[in-house]
């Protein structure tokens, strides 16, 4: 059963308990100064943003078909069957293609380190594999961040909208965006007003590059025959070239 996180912005009170829990889980320092930073970075893997009187939590969406994992040349990022997109720092060469490719601008880099790593939320993979909740969901005092099976959370989100249509913008963010994500959002206002990108295709992004990459075998085989054939025709006349193999 793939897992997910449902974040309901209408319930969030901006207490930032999730931030503290996440920092603790990763062993990152957390104090008032860090709490005041409203964006994710290499030392803050989730952040609560303020948009007027609304809050919005940012974390890795753990996409169902993650662009970051598809572009990583060394396979340092992997989508697990459980849902989380995990990172193996020992493979990472620091090309930062994952950062460029991520439609949610999630991966952060340890810019000031001499041996830097990429960092992002991994939906508490080892906690969830052990049957525990993500640290942020566990810490949330009002149930604004909920962790569970994706299917059930999608149903629950749609039910919340149906029950209180006046309170919700009638869409679940993350249901179809870039093929669906493991983090789902509910909001009272259109999603761009709480800082989410709404110009995303519903097609999974890895498709865009795969469409071209899958042509490679054809290009190689056709190209070999074509170039070999052209060479053979054009060089037949030159005796010396023929004898010496074309040079």
């Amino acid at each position: 059963m793939p897992k997910a996180i449902l974040y309901d912005s209408t319930l969030c009170i901006g207490c930032k308990a999730c931030e503290g829990a996440c920092a603790e889980r990763w062993g990152l320092p957390y104090n008032d100064r860090v709490a005041a930073e409203e964006r994710i970075s290499a030392h803050k893997l989730t952040a609560v943003e303020t948009h007027g009187d609304k809050f919005s939590r940012r974390l890795c969406m753990n996409c169902l078909q993650p662009a970051c994992a598809s572009v990583c040349p060394v396979g340092a990022l992997q989508k697990t069957a459980l849902g989380p997109v995990v990172y193996d720092a020992s493979r990472c060469m620091g090309c930062r293609y994952c950062m460029q490719a991520c439609p949610f601008q999630v991966p952060s880099y340890e810019w000031d380190k001499r041996l830097p790593k990429m960092r992002k939320c991994d939906m508490c993979f080892e906690r969830q594999s052990a049957g525990k909740l993500t640290a942020c969901a566990e810490a949330c005092p009002v149930g604004a961040t909920k962790n569970g099976n994706r299917e059930e959370l999608v149903a629950e989100a749609q039910q919340r909208i149906a029950e209180k249509p006046g309170q919700y913008y009638p869409k679940v963010y993350g249901l179809n965006e870039v093929g669906g994500t493991s983090v789902l959002y509910l909001s009272a206002v259109p999603f761009e007003q709480i800082g989410l990108r709404t110009n995303l295709p519903n097609e999974p992004l890895p498709e865009t590059t795969w469409r071209v990459l899958e042509l490679v075998p054809d290009i190689v085989s056709t190209g070999t025959v074509l170039l070999g054939g052209i060479w053979w025709i054009t060089n037949r006349r030159t005796e010396v070239a023929k004898k010496e193999g074309g040079r």
């Binding site: 396979g75 293609y97 460029q100 001499r114 590059t209 040079r247």
Partner: protein
């Protein structure tokens, strides 16, 4: 013997200044990481080391495969005299691209990882493999020059035996990675400005790389003829300029066709920085393309050279637009490279010029008597040597 410019001391001073600033920037990069030497950020992870050093570097080195294909596969004998300089530039170009990558990678010590840790779904994985293999091919293609210089006939004969498969492999690898540099950006439809984002980006990258390969060959020939006091191969270059004009016309035609199919011409009415950069980029390609159709312009070395330079700049503008400026609005970041990024890029370019000059001086790159024997290229001479042996 090579005659030096009177200006050479000025050039040397500039060269030294560039290399010194590059050395200091290198120190910053090593000691303080990417944060201490670049203006990159989480939302703008790629700067000029990717946008220029890698994307332009690989493209500008495309003359190597273009000419190998024309001379050895399509058998256009006429272009043989400029084949070796093109292969040399390509080999140097790729070496310098790798140097640029060593600066840019967060973990340069892991440059080799893609060779053992595979992800065939990654465009960058494919590029890494193609560039590695193609650099090897270029090295082998250049080896005969070294063997010739030292009179090593046996290895020369050996390398000739594998030369045809080698050349075909080189052209294929180039086709793949030149286009794949465009494929890299297909993953960011939401970030790259629609004047540049198109599913046919790989095709556009490929065609423009062929064109700029020719433009670079003209550019180099002009410079080396001045630096080494050789006669310019004008008829040859003029005919190459003709091919260049046709290739770039095809490029522009595909580009506009694609834009009209995607209905993005309306964007040009917007007074945005992207519009102006687009106009600049297209003008830099379109103007020389039109000019080069005229015999009068092709036959004047100065004008021919100016057109080639314009195409090169148009190409660079395109790669920078795709790799940097076209992504700024979509990423919500304004990126201006830090001085140290520029210093390292300039140092790499300057080193490229210096190494080319040195190799061209000591190795048989340019044919001494090509005007006397236009039809007899160096390859036959090599072949004769082998035969004699």
């Amino acid at each position: 013997m090579p005659r030096k410019f009177p200006k050479i001391t000025v050039w040397r001073a500039i060269f030294a200044a560039i290399m010194l600033s590059g050395a200091y920037a290198t120190y910053l990069r090593v000691m303080y990481g990417l944060g201490g030497s670049t203006n990159l950020s989480d939302k703008f992870p790629w700067g000029i080391w990717i946008g220029f050093d890698v994307m332009c570097g690989v493209g500008l080195a495309a003359g190597g495969f273009t000419l190998v294909a024309m001379v050895h596969i399509f058998n256009v004998e006429q272009y043989k005299p400029v084949l070796r300089p093109a292969v040399l530039t390509a080999f140097l170009g790729y070496t310098l691209v790798v140097v640029g990558l060593l600066y840019d990678l967060g973990r340069p010590d892991r440059l080799w990882h893609p060779l053992v840790m595979w992800n065939p779904h990654s465009v960058m994985f494919e590029v890494a493999w193609c560039v590695t293999l193609y650099s090897t091919v270029l090295f082998l293609e250049f080896l005969p020059v070294v063997f010739e210089k030292f009179g090593l006939h046996k290895p020369l004969a050996w390398i000739h035996r594998i030369s045809v498969p080698l050349m075909i492999l080189g052209v294929l690898l180039s086709t793949l990675h030149q286009s794949s540099l465009g494929t890299l950006f297909l993953i960011v439809p939401e970030k790259l400005y629609p004047l540049w984002y198109t599913p046919i980006l790989p095709l556009l990258f490929y065609v423009s790389a062929i064109g700029v390969g020719l433009a670079m060959t003209i550019f180099e020939s002009w410079h080396s003829s001045r630096a080494f006091g050789r006669a310019l191969e004008l008829p040859l270059l003029a005919s190459m300029a003709r091919v260049l004009a046709v290739v770039m016309s095809v490029y522009l035609w595909i580009r506009f066709l694609d834009m009209s199919h995607r209905h993005v011409f309306g964007l040009l009415a917007r007074n945005r920085i992207e519009t102006w950069l687009f106009v600049l980029e297209i003008a830099l390609v379109a103007v020389p393309t039109v000019l080069l159709y005229q015999h009068r312009i092709r036959m004047q070395p100065g004008k021919l050279y100016a057109c080639a330079v314009m195409v090169v700049f148009g190409f660079i503008a395109n790669r920078l637009n795709v790799g940097i400026t076209g992504l700024e609005a979509g990423s919500g970041v304004h990126y201006v490279p830090r001085w140290s990024e520029v210093a390292i890029t300039l140092s790499i370019v300057a080193a490229g010029f210096a190494i080319f000059h040195t190799i061209a001086k000591y190795f048989p790159i340019f044919e001494p008597e090509m005007h006397a024997q236009p039809a007899r290229g160096m390859a036959e001479k090599e072949a004769d040597l082998v035969a004699i042996e």
